[in-house]
């Protein structure tokens, strides 16, 4: 159990420190690296919560897809050398105050609320059950998600392409 706790603190530290780097770093590329650390940490927490399929999905979709996309956008849009241009910050003080308030409130609730925790035996691998669920109980959301992804694909291409005008 104590190794579990040590692993938890390792991944939680990676997640929280990385997440802290996203609003605070001066260079937007380091913000993206902080996001990388946060996503890896969250993936590790999924493993601790015995959500193995979700952890792999996190690695594949978030780190392999979304993060690469974000870094591409960073490279394409911002002049990284000009720090002030690339990552301006407004009201870091008010942001810190907001963070202190919401963070205290959420942590207070998380620690002192009487959650109805049910103790269960160690769970087993989930991918087979998730596959069955996606083709059974959650078939409709699964199909809707595929339609949403198709619409996203077309929409992103249409929005981002350069228009060729005749004149």
């Amino acid at each position: 159990m104590h190794t579990n706790l040590a692993v938890f603190y390792l991944f939680a530290l990676a997640a929280v420190v990385g997440a802290a780097g996203v609003p605070m770093s001066k260079n937007i590329f380091w913000s993206a690296m902080g996001l990388l650390s946060a996503l890896v940490g969250v993936g590790g927490l999924y493993v601790l919560l015995s959500a193995d399929f979700l952890a792999v999905t996190q690695l594949l979709v978030y780190i392999g897809g979304v993060l690469v996309l974000i870094i591409f956008a960073v490279m394409l849009t911002s002049q990284i050398k000009e720090i002030e241009v690339s990552n301006q910050n407004v009201g870091l003080v008010s942001g810190a105050i907001l963070f202190a308030l919401t963070g205290t409130l959420l942590s207070f609730i998380a620690i002192w609320a009487p959650w109805k925790v049910v103790l269960r035996p160690e769970s087993h691998e989930t991918s087979a059950a998730i596959g069955n669920g996606l083709l059974g109980t959650w078939l409709l959301p699964f199909e809707v998600a595929s339609v949403v992804l198709l619409a996203t694909l077309i929409g992103a291409i249409v929005v981002a392409r350069k228009e060729i005008k005749d004149d």
């Binding site: 939680a12 996203v22 999924y46 959500a51 979709v61 996309l69 591409f72 998380a110 620690i111 350069k162």
Partner: protein, 107 residues
């Protein structure tokens, strides 16, 4: 509070999820770079996902929380793709992604 010291509990994960949410909120509210704001949204969604999976493991049981988190990941990927496409289109138009400069509809 006493179980916070001993071994891993639901509260540990909820605190991490809450902190991720707060940092995401701070990013969205204080950044003027549109790409950085998208990063904040990803952080918020990840915080929500940690909470979903933690509640699934400690309270609800079954798989519904994990499947919900899976759909959140799908929608986050879709949102990131469309959002970045819009940002790139804006950048091609006005050569800036500072949200203060994107005000041409105001005139």
């Amino acid at each position: 509070m006493t179980e916070m010291m001993g071994h891993l509990s639901l509260s540990h994960f909820l605190v991490v999820g809450g902190l991720l949410f707060c940092f995401g909120l701070m990013t969205v509210l204080t950044r003027r770079n549109a790409v950085a704001m998208l990063m904040g949204i990803e952080l918020i969604l990840n915080g929500a996902n940690v909470n979903l999976v933690a509640f699934n493991y400690y309270v609800a049981g079954g798989l519904s929380g994990q499947i919900f988190a899976l759909f959140v990941i799908v929608l986050a990927a879709a949102e990131a793709a469309v959002g970045l496409a819009i940002i790139l289109a804006i950048y091609q138009m006005i050569r800036s992604i500072d949200t203060a400069n994107i005000a041409s509809l105001r005139q």
